[in-house]
């Protein structure tokens, strides 16, 4: 219980700090917000009026509190470029991002964990070496390059899959695989080493001495123990997926949060960039918190004492 409480407090503190950081970083990035709203022919006086209306001339800390106040009362504001309601944009693009992110997250664990187990059981065989080589490649290849490569191969040359777009299942395949590649590679390696470490423990010998079959010992007991580090690092995998989503969504034209955020930053659309950055931060922090909860639930040594 104390562990849970401390993790929750930790999460709230991170959220508060990152909201300030995001707010300041966007203001410090330079550029003129009025350029998003007013035509190039607008006079300096017009621009000044707009800045006054938007509160851009107030001290930054005051702008921060005004903004947070509105945010907490549910007013997310409008986009500077097309005046769209940010709350609407979040729902619409957020759904797309969650589909892509969830698909990648599932791939990471549904592919990574079984491959890691296979490599550990077939330790030092051709299968193990093949899986390990693939995982090195998965970690080494930058995902933007992997994205371009896969578009070239599967869309242009083989014509098996569409190169971009949303939101049919066929269009989800390539971006989800590219987004999952690095996390899967890391999960394979981690699963393998966690399995091998537990295979060497004394209690494995005890279970064998009790007559349990290898598949029972490995598939149930060793796996159950190996799951602890895998779950505890699931938070990192979530962070990775959220971060890489910016690149992958842009390359594959997947209209998610990342794509909107990149466009907003390029156009100095402060309210949108700010809020979408915050959403990504919340997702990462919340993901880590959930991973901590999972770690707590999976580990009897933390549950009761």
């Amino acid at each position: 219980m104390r562990y849970l409480a401390s993790r929750t407090v930790y999460m709230l503190v991170i959220l508060a700090i990152s909201s300030v950081a995001v707010f300041y970083a966007i203001r410090l990035s330079g550029g003129d917000a009025t350029a998003a709203r007013l035509p190039a022919s607008a006079t300096e006086a017009d621009r000044e009026t707009l800045r006054e209306v938007l509160g851009l001339n107030d001290p930054i800390y005051q702008q921060y509190f005004t903004y947070m106040g509105r945010l907490l009362s549910g007013d997310l504001g409008n986009s500077l470029t097309n005046n769209a309601l940010i709350s609407k944009m979040v729902v619409e693009h957020g759904r797309n991002s969650i589909i892509l992110g969830a698909a990648a997250f599932l791939l990471v664990f549904l592919v990574g964990v079984p491959l890691g187990m296979l490599a550990s059981v077939r330790r030092n065989t051709l299968a193990d070496q093949g899986i390990m080589s693939l995982s090195v490649a998965g970690m080494a290849v930058p995902n933007f390059w992997l994205a371009l490569l896969s578009i070239w191969l599967f869309a242009s040359v083989l014509r098996w899959l569409p190169s971009a777009g949303c939101c049919e299942p066929r269009q989800l395949i390539l971006p989800a695989i590219v987004l999952a590649a690095e996390g899967t590679a890391l999960t394979v390696r981690m699963t393998r080493s966690a399995m091998l470490e537990n295979l060497d423990s004394d209690w494995v010998r005890t279970l064998r001495a009790g007559g349990l079959s290898e598949s029972r010992v490995i598939g149930k007991h060793v796996f159950r123990n190996a799951l602890i580090p895998i779950i505890s690092l699931a938070g990192l995998r979530i962070g990775q997926i959220v971060g890489y989503a910016l690149i992958v969504e842009v390359i594959f034209g997947w209209p998610g949060l990342g794509q909107v955020l990149v466009n907003a930053v390029l156009r100095r659309d402060y309210p949108v960039a700010q809020f979408f950055s915050l959403v990504l931060v919340v997702m990462v922090v919340l993901g880590n918190w959930l991973a901590d909860l999972g770690y707590l639930a999976a580990n009897p040594r933390l549950r009761k004492t």
Partner: protein
């Protein structure tokens, strides 16, 4: 004497490191009879545990393998028994308890879960029936408050309690043979006596045959019926316990006995055997103990002695001499 329950003949186990195989158990033979405790003693690294794991078919694979010999149990040879059938034997007919109770139980599952899983592996009983059997086994080793322990996890129990759980797990299916590998070494001195007491009580009550592996000669003298002394992967002397302790013949046995601290009789430095057990890759030709032996002959360096039976005793030595009081 009755026919043996378990007969080990010329058991040889090798370990492979970097492509080269070394014998760690070399032609070991012994018999185990019902209702009898056979003590297996020797220094660390002399092959006691590897002998036990070889009998159980639990040697680390593929690093080690049994290169020869047989382990006759009833009408079966456990060495050549298929793994599937060997699993039926393990935990049911022959069970084993290990040295370190702190690391010998899976930390992710409750005591009750671990015990019932093994029971239901060997007996087709319902979960509640298996739980009742487990509970009774815990009560028999006098684990305090067994109902609560069933739902607890290994980390919630002390070392002594965990070793009782291990003993309960090993005994709950009424095995014919129990192999106890240094069952008390990792425990506090006060707990050691309690655990040993539980183990002996159960052994007598069930008329079970027990292989007690230890380097504690005091324990062996107190509980064993027969003793086998191992050195460098071989049995060098084997005799009924009284005979071995009153009249040890092998210089290594004599050295071990002299190395036991005797606070009442002696003062001054503790007797030690110079040198150490040779690692398996550097076993000298001839008698492996010859480099450390005070009465070695030239023959001992050149020729490997056989284990020779003589009046209930087996001895592997060319030049035995009665023990002179130190």
């Amino acid at each position: 004497m009755a026919s043996p329950l378990l007969s080990v003949r010329d058991l040889t186990t090798v370990i492979r490191t970097e492509g080269i195989e070394f014998e760690v158990v070399r032609g070991v033979s012994f018999d185990m009879y019902p209702n009898e405790i056979l003590g297996l003693v020797g220094e660390s690294g002399c092959g006691k545990t590897m002998t036990a794991l070889s009998v159980m078919g639990l040697i680390p694979s593929p690093a080690a393998r049994i290169a020869g010999g047989e382990v006759r149990f009833g009408d079966r040879d456990l060495v050549s028994l298929p793994e599937r059938e060997m699993r039926e034997v393990r935990g049911d007919d022959i069970s084993m308890i290990f040295q370190d109770p702190l690391t010998s139980l899976d930390p992710m599952f409750s005591i009750g879960h671990l015990l019932t899983e093994v029971i239901r592996r060997h007996r087709s009983v319902s979960r509640p029936e298996a739980e009742a059997m487990a509970l009774q086994a815990l009560a028999e080793v006098e684990l305090p408050d067994p109902e609560t322990r069933m739902s607890q996890y290994p980390h919630q129990l002390s070392g002594g309690m965990r070793q009782r759980v291990m003993i309960a797990m090993a005994l709950m299916l009424d095995p014919d043979i129990l192999i106890a590998d240094e069952p008390t070494t990792a425990l506090d001195v006060t707990v050691q006596a309690q655990i040993l007491d539980r183990l002996l009580g159960q052994q007598r009550r069930r008329g079970m045959s027990m292989l007690l592996i230890t380097h504690d000669l005091g324990v062996v003298a107190a509980v064993a019926d027969r003793v086998a002394v191992m050195y460098s992967g071989e049995i060098v002397e084997q005799a009924p316990v009284g005979q071995l302790f009153s009249d040890p013949q092998h210089p290594y046995t004599q050295g071990l006995l002299r190395a036991v601290p005797q606070t009442r009789h002696q003062r001054g430095a503790l007797h030690t055997i110079p040198g150490r057990v040779p690692p398996p890759q550097f076993v000298p030709p001839g008698c492996p103990f010859s480099p450390r032996c005070s009465q070695a002959l030239v023959r001992c360096w050149e020729e490997h002695p056989e284990l020779v039976p003589d009046d209930g005793r087996h001895l592997r030595c060319f030049n035995p001499r009665p023990l002179t009081p130190a």
